[in-house]
Subunit: 332 residues, 2 copies
């Protein structure tokens, strides 16, 4: 670690990351370097609080040094994303123009236009607008939604996340599962949460059901009420494990089941997806598949600012992990 | 209400707000108008989704149409503030440059400089930096911290909020109260939460104690552990009511007390401050004094964009209210 009163140097970063100095330099200057190394270096930069010195970088010449971030709302997951993208930009002396589309497609389109009109150096966008036009001549990185090979997309490993959840429920004794899945009418990377669920249930040979709610805002979790009520008989749910496409859906389902006298996790175990904590930094609100928000943010920023933007991978899936939030049993 | 497929007009706003068309025009054009009217009109604008047409406004000439917002973190209260400031700016066709100081005074100072360097039209800042220099020649509105009569400050009615909390605890049967209060070393508007607590306890003639933790980040709630542990005897807390300076502190105190076998709200009733909801839009996490975040945001934006900026009130305190979040008893 660097001395607390000394500014950390590039050498400190190299030591902390366990990589060569030239690798740090490449990451800092957005040159081509293996994704694993980039993650290691960014992690060290973050933990040491290293600040880039941009003054020698050709990159900045005649640029606005501003990146636009477009998110649908300030749901806790997006709030965390905003925080980490802001931090990643700030370390590189870039500023952030923030657009919140308020789940409104027309507004989302305007946000995109406004970002371009404001001559930002690039746009990081999390959008579900089915008819979104991608502006030309501006670098764009998307989150959770793959548009084309020319537009890098960063996402968590949604398929694997669902597999981890199903295997965890199985390990903890569940033998009949249901998926509560709300989604937009688009096929996005998030759709793979359903694919991974079905695949893992087949793999384990256990019966399952999926309840899918397709609607624009993908947050109408109250629509699961009827499904849950229809599957409670004599105070018991037909399933002993629920996997939900979001922590919000899982939290809601837990509350609904408790209202019907069903105990969580004794009678039914529930896992969500996202990794939302109380007040952003406290306990997990439900057992969950944790998205690596900081790594997603770092990857978006290093991608959007890379000199060889066009040669960046078109789909980057970052690893997720399970965290116990009290809605699953303890391991025996 | 306007027809769903028609864009709402200024007339619709006037009808919805119950004010004259000229009043709406004044608000839209940032001319002098009573604060009550401004709030009514902004509320109607929000509920109808009315969008300003800025094209005729001299105000915008040779301006960047960008406002900087500086917040310390993405704590749920700040996330909500970011959302509503963003929406208020967006309705006026302004964009937001977002700075997150990460509770770091040096970074906060840089954020302020960067905002000025980026030629924003104004800065809305929530800062606790004791040595912050306010840049000249840029309009600034602060939240929760009064600097001087030249710099308008918008805040919730902190003093009254604490009084409401104390009276509510008293109504619900509490007769011995404690305040858990963490604060920065600065005297800010938030300090009035302590003043209001003491004043109301005196007014009601009930015994009370205050536990104050003074530290830079004002979020080290774990520091209340010793106080709570020292005041539990034979499984009972010395107080039957706690008022906490934030929902985070209240949530934390409830968890700690429950760990010690104390029932909330049966044995001890707890009220926080802020109005944080699960996932931003669900249930309140604790019983709380709700800050009017949307009105705070609207007031900051209409103030920073007002033509007669220098004549705006220097301290605007907006009304708060109590909300039951399950950590207080039901009214008999």
């Amino acid at each position: 670690m660097a001395e607390p009163n000394n500014k950390p140097t590039m050498e400190d970063v190299a030591r902390e990351a366990g990589v060569a100095l030239s690798t740090v330099s490449k990451v800092v200057n957005n040159q081509r370097v293996g994704e694993g190394y980039r993650l290691k270096v960014n992690k060290a930069i973050e933990s040491l609080g290293y600040r880039y010195n941009n003054s020698g970088r050709a990159l900045r010449t005649s640029k606005s040094s501003t990146i636009a971030l477009i998110v649908p709302s300030m749901h806790p997951f997006f709030a965390k994303l905003v925080y980490h993208v802001n931090a990643a930009l700030s370390r590189r002396n870039y500023t952030m123009m923030l657009f919140i589309s308020q789940d409104d497609y027309a507004r989302e389109k305007e946000c995109m236009q406004l970002a371009v009109e404001n001559q930002v150096d690039g746009i990081i966008a999390l959008t579900y607008n089915p008819s979104l036009e991608i502006p030309k001549n501006t670098s764009i990185v998307t989150i959770d939604r793959f548009f084309s090979q020319e537009i890098p997309c960063v996402t968590s490993d949604n398929f694997e996340g669902s597999r981890i959840a199903v295997h965890k429920l199985y390990e903890l004794g569940c033998r009949k599962l249901a998926l509560l899945y709300s989604c937009s009418q688009l096929r996005t990377e998030v759709s793979k949460r359903k694919d991974g669920f079905i695949s893992a249930c087949h793999e384990l040979g256990i019966p399952f059901e999926t309840k899918e709610i397709v609607e624009a805002r993908a947050r109408r979790i109250d629509l699961f009420d009827d499904f849950l009520a229809a599957h409670v008989h004599d105070g018991r749910l037909d399933y002993d494990g629920l996997f939900c496409c979001s922590d919000l859906a899982a939290w809601y389902a837990c509350n609904k089941l408790r209202e019907m006298g069903i105990r969580i996790p004794e009678d039914v175990q529930v896992i969500g997806y996202d990794g939302i904590r109380a007040f952003g930094e406290g306990d997990y609100l439900v057992s969950t598949i944790v998205q690596p928000v900081q790594e997603i943010a770092e990857t978006c920023v290093s991608t959007i600012l890379s000199e060889d933007f066009s040669s960046r991978p078109s789909l980057i899936c970052l690893p997720v992990e399970f965290a116990d939030g009290g809605t699953t049993k303890k391991m025996p």
